[in-house]
């Protein structure tokens, strides 16, 4: 059973990766947009006395990661719906969530390209010597970041499929995450009442721990572990919610016969 599911996840991932790797919108979201955001932010912030290039680069890479998660995940199921293949996938013995998980892994893998590309490009264009102060902690934090974005991707994917009307709000959801998660500037600039919203967003903790481990010389390891814990718990919550949403989607679709494109 596990082996069969893993096989489906792997096949869905490879198949989806082949589809999105040549998509110009994906290339823009993962490569061009983070690079332009980073360039703009560098020119805006570089005269600050406490300017840290690595802070901006990580922040802009996270913008690419979130934009990728948002836009690619929301089309995970809706793409099949448009193509007329959703009925076939749902009717197959494999659970829909396995196929979506495979696609999510491909999306997250693609979006991670924004991190891999932002660093060398920024170093090349601006001549920055980008040094990560705590490489081991940073690497482990990156793994937690991947976990959080996979869970978030599943949540976005299931939510956008249950609520078809939500798709028109996609563009309006992109920048609020940049703001509330403090990707490019600290959330202390925002009104105090938005802070609780930031706390329930895993990307906020991801940005915090990545910035912390990359920039700060003296950090509390206990604090880093605590943030990893927050990310893990939030990722679990996102997975539970998305599992519930998948159930709602399938029940609703079978009861109302709404699997096909509406």
């Amino acid at each position: 059973m596990i082996k069969a599911n893993l096989r489906v996840i792997y096949i869905a991932m490879i198949f989806h990766l082949k589809q999105i790797a040549v998509d110009s919108f994906v290339i823009f979201t993962v490569i061009v947009q983070p690079l332009l955001v980073a360039t703009l932010a560098i020119y805006m912030l570089r005269r600050n006395t406490d300017f840290e290039a690595i802070y901006v680069i990580i922040g802009s890479a996270l913008t690419g990661l979130w934009s990728g998660t948002l836009f690619f995940s929301s089309s995970n199921i809706n793409f099949e719906r448009r193509a007329g293949t959703l009925e076939l996938i749902v009717a197959s013995p494999t659970h829909l969530a396995m196929v979506v998980l495979g696609k999510t892994l491909a999306n997250t893998g693609m979006s991670l390209g924004s991190i891999l590309i932002s660093y060398p490009m920024a170093a090349l264009l601006f001549g920055f010597h980008l040094k990560i102060v705590n490489p081991v902690l940073f690497f482990i934090s990156t793994l937690f970041a991947i976990l959080s974005f996979i869970s978030l991707s599943l949540l976005v994917s299931s939510f956008m499929s249950v609520s078809l009307g939500a798709r028109v709000w996609e563009n309006a959801l992109e920048f609020p995450m940049y703001i509330l998660s403090g990707f490019m500037f600290p959330i202390t600039l925002l009104p105090i009442w938005v802070t609780p919203l930031s706390y329930v967003l895993a990307p906020f903790w991801v940005a915090r721990v990545l910035h912390m481990t990359a920039v700060h010389n003296t950090i509390s390891q206990l604090e880093v572990v605590r943030i990893w814990g927050y990310i893990f718990v939030l990722a679990l919550i996102y997975c539970f919610i998305s599992a519930w949403l998948f159930k709602v989607l399938l029940k609703k679709a079978r009861a109302e016969s709404t699997l096909g494109y509406q």
Binding site: F28, L36, V37, M44
Partner: protein, 265 residues
């Protein structure tokens, strides 16, 4: 006289049909999401980024710059959609085969985008005022004129970008890139003195740059005659892009006919 009536009819029908049939955001919810909520978040993000760079005293600079930049939503995406969506709808071949004057048709396609662009920027300024932008003493009629001219000039650039639809399906990639390049080069977020000379030179070749500069001056109470050179410059840049767009559409149309790529996917 007969030609004038026919041209006016084609202009108006082209304007109306392109707006109701080719733009995705004409439904109220879609409009609310793409022209009210999303622009608000753009303004919020870039203004906070600017404030984190230069302090809250400079918020006005970023709020005005980003509100004006919103006209590129219509100028770039709207105008391009009004041409490119013909291809998606499979009707580009009919448009090319029709005997209508191409210039009138494409000018018609920009018409509602100009009106919509002015409304979007006005909403952006209203949002900015909600966020604390103080426009006491601003020259409102001058600002309105500047918004109108800047939106028209950005539509000129949109016409040029829309021409890509004749050859490629990757128009969205080009649009998205230019949208962000305008943020970078137009001075919406960067004061001229913080840009290298080459970036200032690129900015001077783009629409929006002079419009944003003029709006900032008018917001501080400048008279219209003080910003006239900027407004004429903005109009000239827009006209050059518009003419270039028309010329490129014309030549690409011929290439697409020869390649048979008008409705290729």
């Amino acid at each position: 006289m007969k030609n004038l009536v026919a041209s006016t009819r084609i202009f108006l029908s082209s304007a109306w049909l392109s707006y109701v049939a080719l733009l995705y955001w004409t439904q109220p919810i879609t409009y609310l999401a793409s022209h009210v909520a999303a622009p608000f978040t753009y303004i919020l993000f870039f203004s906070y980024l600017g404030i984190s760079a230069t302090g809250s005293d400079t918020a006005k600079f970023y709020l005005i710059g980003n509100a004006l930049h919103l006209c590129s939503l219509n100028g770039i995406y709207g105008v391009t959609m009004a041409i490119g969506n013909e291809r998606d709808a499979g009707t580009l071949v009919y448009l090319v085969a029709s005997p209508s004057n191409r210039l009138i048709v494409f000018l018609g396609r920009t018409f509602f985008n100009i009106i919509d662009g002015v409304i979007t920027v006005s909403l952006g300024l209203a949002w900015s005022m909600f966020l604390g932008l103080d426009l006491t003493g601003a020259n409102w009629s001058g600002i309105f004129l500047t918004i109108l001219i800047t939106t028209i000039s950005t539509c000129g650039l949109g016409l040029l970008l829309g021409s890509v639809s004749f050859l490629s399906l990757n128009v969205l990639f080009v649009n998205n890139t230019v949208f962000f390049l305008l943020l970078l080069f137009s001075g919406a977020n960067l004061p001229a003195d913080s840009m290298p000379t080459w970036m200032q030179a690129v900015g001077s070749l783009l629409p929006l740059t002079r419009g944003i500069k003029a709006t900032r001056l008018l917001a501080d109470g400048a008279q219209i005659n003080e910003v006239l050179p900027l407004l004429f410059g903005e109009m000239a840049v827009g006209a050059i892009y518009g003419i270039a767009g028309y010329a490129v559409i014309h030549s690409l149309e011929n290439i697409a006919r020869k390649r048979g790529s008008l409705d290729a996917y």
